[in-house]
Symmetry: C2
Subunit: 343 residues, 2 copies
Amino acid sequence: MNLKQLSQILGLSQTTVSRALNGYPEVSEATRMRVQAAAAKHGYRPNSRAKGLATGKAMVIGHVIPSSSQHEMVNPIFGDFVAGAARKYAEHGYDMMFTHADDISIEEAYRTLFKRGAVDGVVLQGPKVVEPRISVLAKMNVPFIVHGRSTGAGEPYSWIDVNNKRSFLRATQFLIDLGHRRIALINGLEEMDFAQRRREGYLEALQMAGLAPDPELMRSAEMTEIYGHHETRNMLQLADPPTAILAASMISAIGVRRALDEAGLKMGRDVSVIAHDDELSYLKNGQDVPIFTATRSSVRHAGEIAAEMLIDRINTPEDPPKTRLLEAELVLGSSTGPTPDRS
Amino acid sequence: MNLKQLSQILGLSQTTVSRALNGYPEVSEATRMRVQAAAAKHGYRPNSRAKGLATGKAMVIGHVIPSSSQHEMVNPIFGDFVAGAARKYAEHGYDMMFTHADDISIEEAYRTLFKRGAVDGVVLQGPKVVEPRISVLAKMNVPFIVHGRSTGAGEPYSWIDVNNKRSFLRATQFLIDLGHRRIALINGLEEMDFAQRRREGYLEALQMAGLAPDPELMRSAEMTEIYGHHETRNMLQLADPPTAILAASMISAIGVRRALDEAGLKMGRDVSVIAHDDELSYLKNGQDVPIFTATRSSVRHAGEIAAEMLIDRINTPEDPPKTRLLEAELVLGSSTGPTPDRS
DNA sequence: ACTCATTTTCAAAGCGCTTTGGATAACGAC
DNA sequence: GTCGTTATCCAAAGCGCTTTGAAAATGAGT
């Protein structure tokens, strides 16, 4: 069932039917009703490609999945972020397109997406400190939004991010206030921009308290359970082990907890742990009392905001880039407590 | 840069340029070279929508994200499955499209996707025991593949699945062989088809060993850490608690472990645990020695196969539906051991 | 009854590509 | 020199929609 057939059934021109369906005023209410009824009856849906060709808009937003060939790693926040964004896309009539690209060809993938007219805008996820993708998109002068920021970017761009620095600063201060002096940071990969900002917050808090940072207590790893476990076990064997640990994600924090258990240490009593909690739907941090004391910020919510900001940007491309900084909550759970006495 | 412009630059017709680029034989090698060089030089990419309109193929595969409004839950396997599928789509020149839909309107979402000509085929994830989506798609006579199966389906359909029944049967037998008699099952939601099959395997193993199933030891919950923890803690308080637990996912198994730790029980010694491991990239089950004894099957691999099966189906729609049953490995980790003596 | 303004409808062009059905050129063979 | 073949290339139609510019229908005013 296409426009032509529908208009023939109705005895109207394609023009009129199209206008009736798209809410243009040049059509009487009576015929509009008649057209809508017929469209519903025959289950007519305008062909997206034809519509896109005619209007010049794809009504599609693109995401590129970077498949790190080295560490075949899918970001665990991917699903929830996407679910949030998809919901807003749907509300505004947009579809969501994913393209796979090798590490090497990611910039090319973005470029192709636009040249093919496949998308009206793209979301850039997981920006690194030095992020060539941003300048590629900026130079192409196409609508895009970054989830996160990139310190090394030369030009302005739209982004939405969590205040990673402040949240880790606050978390570190909280541990210091509890009496901790040996505070470890199990960070994400340091090439990621968010990891660098978190470290800055951590270091600043130490400095404000007059504590010297110890390189032995600053680990950087992929945010898996295994690495959280590995780094923690490693640090517990130090001559002067940490009494508190900041973990970059709930998943690595779970690895931290496992290492503590194995060492016969009780989390919250012997060693305090604070995790960053993205509020992943399958990894809720407890019901009433959170398991982990955590810096909390919903990544699904970030996805929703990113979607709306991007659509806004598509609609008003001449406006200057907008930015949005979300503050993470610091929620108190049972994984933190005062420094244990070591007599 | 479009075809028209490119052909004008080259002093050729659109026909010839199009054919040169698409590898048709009616064009001399010399001009083909010339055309390809010019296309590369100007960065020409054919417009996807125009191409789709002309060919009648979208070169897009659709996935519908069901956003359970009740339990706002994104399936944790989503990311890895999609990453696997996306890779194969890209290899075959397909894009991947996601559409969001409410629980209620999911069937309508699939229908619309095809009517709009937005996709050439769809992947149906997370089938339930009774799955109306399958009959909707079958009746529409469109290419689709199911990741999982649906017991209640009346018509044949293409699917790829893990042999859930056999893998849980084997896991249960393994525990029985170790001397366990009180074996609990912390399953996924029972309306899900995979959960039902796992339970069947579990029950069959009990029956073969002459053990009576105890409803108290069969729990069904969303596969989150919290629920794994909750159900385990609950069962440990029974008069005759389980000595072994089968968990439907690594994530719920982590919750199980937490409950055991809290109860002062050592996993693998006091209580044995077997988890189902989808080999999620951020939840690897140990490096050398797996943490959990597990039934293991890569969901990313399943995504790759699903993609290829679907593309195959799109290309040969008249062929009967194909199916593929993957066997899970049973990998031995440190979470299982003989029944503890209870004197 | 006639004009003018307004409302309602329509025919046709155009979006960027593929593809059908020729047309033209080149090349031997006779 | 003519004919048939083959190798190249092209003009134009068509995919399903939107949108421009014009025409038909309606209604009000005189």
